[in-house]
Amino acid sequence: MSYQANFRVWRGDSSGGGLEPYQVEVNEGEVVLDIVHRLQATQAPDLAVRWNCKAGKCGSCSAEVNGRPRLLCMTRMSTLPPDEPVTITPMRTFPVLRDLVTDVSFNYTKAREVPSFVPPQGLKPGEYRMAQEDVNRSQEFRKCIECFLCQNTCHVVRDHEENKPAFSGPRFLMRVAELDMHPLDAAAEEGLDRKRSAQEEHGLGMCNITKCCTEVCPEHIKITDNALIPLKERAVDRKYDPLVWLGSVIKRRK
């Protein structure tokens, strides 16, 4: 069941590079990452690629296969036409380091910008009580394996480098939603309004809900429907609801 497949793999670094052709054996049941490993072992020992668990659980081997953001370990060769060349490139939203490896520090910077969970005052460890239905929503978002494919595919930063400072990206807007929906997060008591800051600090308004983040998520998290849109609605509560606005004006008068 083996066949010879044609691959085009982007080789290079920040100074330049291009798609290099390879012909390589493909066996039944293999995924794209297996082929990359075979290239390393036989033809290109210095081909740089990130990977760890090879089971879709760590989110390291993010790249683009035939132009689509994918985990290399979760892309079966059997889903690709055997007679057409397979193109593998690094993620095209982040600066390239070498070959398939990109500099994803943007994401770690954004992670730091989201204020952490604020533990409730007066509850000691072991005294937390939360109902399952109250943690379900945040638990869905915590399935995230931080592969950053959503950050990579989002056109807000993919097509507009200049938006990077102002926009946290789907993964970290989802983190804001996760904390805002956490049943015991005490940010409000500390004077932090996550709903408002989602829009004012993290660029929620940039999102035009075109759902590419949801399409590429290997964990099948409904990022747009369950995190981003609810967060937008929460921001509306704060900023665009005339009744709330009127209420706050009256309160200020008093």
Binding site: G16, G67, A131, D159, C207, I209
Partner: protein
């Protein structure tokens, strides 16, 4: 020397296929530092297909509804059915509808089609709907054309500025949409009469209006704003068991929001077309009982 930390130079030009339609170098995926790939995308599938189908579907509806809204007044009512485009009918120039929602709030000074008064609301509801936004941003504005396909625009500010910041008023259109859906429900009830106004009869038109109103409600209730209002805004579902159940129900509908958006769009058009055909005498309504 092999132990240099600097990479070797790459001989020869990159072999990336050139794509003349791509944006100028230096922007987006061609920003300095990113992998040097000339093509604006490398997708090999028919990514443009869904964009094209969406654009065609929306344009077809817009064309049809514009024609009907401006010129359909005299074929808006065929007893006992009223076209959903003309209900409620709020001007003096409306046709008389037996017990129908023809309330002449606007006097005879209103010379335009009465449909224009009311259509603002369902139109606004759909225009600011989270699904339609996705659909037309992609189909008409190519922002983005498809996932991982570079968009043609030089700058992008999303929904942060006027006019797109107005998308945030979606939930007020939702409230109006509830009212409109209520009136259309009333119309569907009135359809259980014969053309003479006697109750307990039904024709194919009754079923058309019934199917339409069911889809309208399903679409309206599956709205993301509705999901937020009934329960999504709560922090502790466990303290609001009834609203939690409602949120779950709306959530199930919401997962089908796209399908319902299209289904209800088509059903509105079909219901109007049916009334038009009856009113213009193309055929008579087959009566069931």
């Amino acid at each position: 020397m092999t132990t240099e930390t600097r990479p070797p130079q790459h001989p020869g030009e990159p072999q990336t296929p050139a794509d003349p339609s791509g944006p100028a170098p230096g922007r987006g995926v061609h920003s300095p530092g990113r992998a040097a790939i000339a093509a604006r995308h490398l997708r090999t599938d028919r990514w443009w297909l869904s964009q094209a189908v969406t654009a065609f579907g929306l344009l077809a509806f817009v064309g049809y509804s514009t024609w009907r809204a401006f010129f359909g007044l005299h074929t808006a009512y065929a007893a006992p059915y009223v076209s959903p485009f003309y209900s409620p009918c709020l001007a003096a120039n409306c046709p008389a509808m037996k017990s129908g929602a023809d309330w002449a709030l606007f006097g005879s000074w209103w010379q335009l089609s009465p449909a224009l008064i009311v259509l603002i609301f369902p139109l606004g509801f759909r225009l600011t709907c989270y699904y339609y936004r996705k659909a037309y941003y992609r189909a008409f504005w190519s922002s983005p054309p498809a996932c991982a396909v570079a968009e043609p625009h030089a700058s992008y500010s999303g929904e942060t500025r006027f006019p797109l910041v107005l998308q945030n008023i979606h939930r007020y259109f939702f409230y109006f949409a509830i009212v409109v859906a209520g009136i259309l429900t009333y119309d569907a009830v009135l359809a259980w009469r014969n053309p003479a106004g006697q109750w307990g009869h039904a024709g194919i038109g009754t079923l058309v209006l019934l199917a339409n109103i069911v889809l309208i409600w399903a679409y309206t209730l599956s709205c993301h704003s509705c999901r937020h209002i009934v329960g999504g805004r709560l922090r502790h579902f466990s303290k609001h068991p009834v609203r939690y159940r409602m949120w779950n129900l709306v959530g199930k509908l919401n997962a089908r929001h796209m399908q319902l958006a299209w289904a209800s769009l088509i059903s509105v058009g079909v219901a109007d077309l049916y009334v038009y055909l009856l009113a213009s005498g193309a055929f008579t309504d087959p009566r069931l009982f």
